[in-house]
């Protein structure tokens, strides 16, 4: 089999060029989606009959929680690819995904506690989902600080990569053990297999926001990756050309 495309795909220079032309689209579309989603969510959707307008926190809480888990998987898969095939670009992707995911985890926790105060009458409960989200934040922090602890960036890549792979096997175990331990949080409302149990106007807003947040996170991650490429490849002639412009 011809693997040339694969190696071309993993070349930092190629990535820098292609991402440069993709990035404005990512920014633009995510901005449009965020505006549309927020409009639909904050003004145009019905309110919950029990929770009133507080339910609108959901349009930020659910997308960030979703992104926090998704970017952990993205990070771990990228780290595994980088570790196994020794692809530099994949390590750069893993390193760039971590802060984005950590930020989303923090946002999900903060919006969650803001939501919890009026509804559950407490900022924080030791509930399964809240706890596993908190542990996810610790896993992200562990990854980032382990990577930074090494002076040699490539050793840091590989070390943090091992941690990310161990972590991704552990995430479901942690999740289920915590779930078994204690749960108060409501179950997932959106599922692929069942008819969603919410009003269509809410669902539209939520889906818009989920796509918007994912696209926005991808844009931030891509931006970070471009920085990472430039700083790691700074001795290469093409980078000098780019910077010299």
């Amino acid at each position: 089999m011809n693997w040339q495309w694969f190696h071309r795909l993993s070349s930092p220079k190629w990535f820098y060029q292609i991402s440069g032309s993709l990035l404005p689209w990512f920014w633009g579309i995510s901005l449009i989606l965020i505006v549309a989603g927020l409009y639909q969510g904050l003004y145009n959707s019905v309110i919950d009959y029990q929770q009133g307008s507080t339910v609108r926190i959901m349009y930020l809480h659910v997308p960030t929680a979703f992104a926090s888990m998704m970017f952990y998987v993205v990070m771990a898969v990228a780290a595994a690819i980088g570790y196994i095939w020794r692809i530099k670009l994949a390590h750069m992707a893993a390193v760039s995904a971590a802060p984005v995911g950590a930020a989303m985890t923090l946002l999900a926790l903060v919006t969650g506690s803001l939501w919890g105060k009026p509804i559950w009458n407490t900022w924080w409960v030791w509930d399964a989902r809240l706890t596993s989200e908190l542990i996810l934040l610790f896993l992200y922090l562990g990854f980032m600080s382990l990577h930074q602890a090494f002076e040699d960036r490539e050793v840091g890549d590989r070390a943090a990569g091992v941690l990310a792979m161990v972590g991704v096997i552990n995430v479901p175990i942690i999740h289920f053990s915590v779930e078994w331990w204690n749960t108060l949080h409501q179950g997932a409302t959106i599922s692929k297999f069942e008819k969603p149990s919410m009003d269509p106007s809410m669902l539209i807003a939520l889906l818009l926001m989920i796509f918007a947040v994912i696209l926005f996170c991808s844009a931030v991650m891509m931006y970070r990756m471009r920085n990472e490429v430039l700083s790691r490849e700074q001795s290469k002639s093409w980078v000098k050309e780019v910077i010299g412009q």
Binding site: Y83, I135, F138, L139, L141, G142, S145, L146, A149, F150, V155, R158, A159, V162, L163, M165, V166, G167, I169, N170, I173, I174, S177, V178, W180, W181
Partner: protein
């Protein structure tokens, strides 16, 4: 080969006995701080005691991880061992087993004493010993990955806790809940089965990650 490496490890531990005793003293001291801080009331201690003993065991196991790799790493022994033994898997396995024998097992043996001090019922004590017996090997196994990754770092200690403690959470949840279930006279075989599953799963998978981790640090 494994036996020889294990003998060497145990001899090494025996020759610096202070490292063997320190985690135990830490374990006892931490547990005995809680009645002072919370309450000497026997009924409350009986309820929270299992959790306290488990957390203290977790921390003691984590703090003793240093002795697994650090000395051997700094004097170059570890590099030679990995080069010469032919299989890094065996070296890592010997390290993990000896770590458990020198810290996990003493914790299990001394735990009934602490359980009595914390007013845990006799059913609870049996459960505590059983869960610690199954749980501490998992702590050594997972800890070896974290230690392998941080052995070359100067400020490794704090980082180690950040890497390892989140991964210890499932074992803590099941261990502590089995003991409190037993203390209330309920069946705790489910928790034990889960812990057994963790043990088998981590015996089969974790050494591979541990080898990868130590290879990153050695190079």
């Amino acid at each position: 080969m494994l036996i020889k490496l294990l003998q060497r490890e145990l001899l090494r531990h025996w020759r610096c006995r202070q490292d063997l005793i320190n985690p135990l003293i830490f374990f006892i001291l931490t547990v005995s701080l809680f009645p002072l801080a919370v309450t000497p009331d026997g009924q409350l201690l009986g309820q929270i005691g299992s959790g306290i003993i488990w957390v203290a065991a977790l921390l003691a196991a984590m703090l003793s991880l240093e002795s697994m790799y650090r000395d051997d790493y700094h004097d170059g022994t570890l590099e030679l061992l990995l080069l010469q033994s032919g299989s890094s898997y065996t070296v890592v396995m010997a390290k993990i087993i000896s770590h458990w024998l020198t810290t996990g097992l003493p914790l299990v043996i001394i735990s009934p004493l602490l359980a009595v001090m914390m007013q845990i019922s006799s059913e609870g004590i049996t459960a505590l010993m059983l869960t610690l017996l199954i749980g501490t090997p998992v702590l050594s196994l997972i800890g070896s990955v974290g230690m392998g990754l941080t052995v070359g770092l100067r400020q490794g200690g704090v980082l180690l806790s950040l890497l390892v403690l989140p991964l210890y959470i499932p074992i803590l949840i099941f261990g502590a809940s089995a003991v409190s279930a037993a203390a209330m006279g309920m069946d705790y075989s489910g928790q034990l089965a889960f812990m057994g599953a963790f043990l088998l799963g981590s015996i089969s998978l974790v050494p591979l990650a541990s080898v990868a981790a130590i290879r990153v640090s050695i190079r």
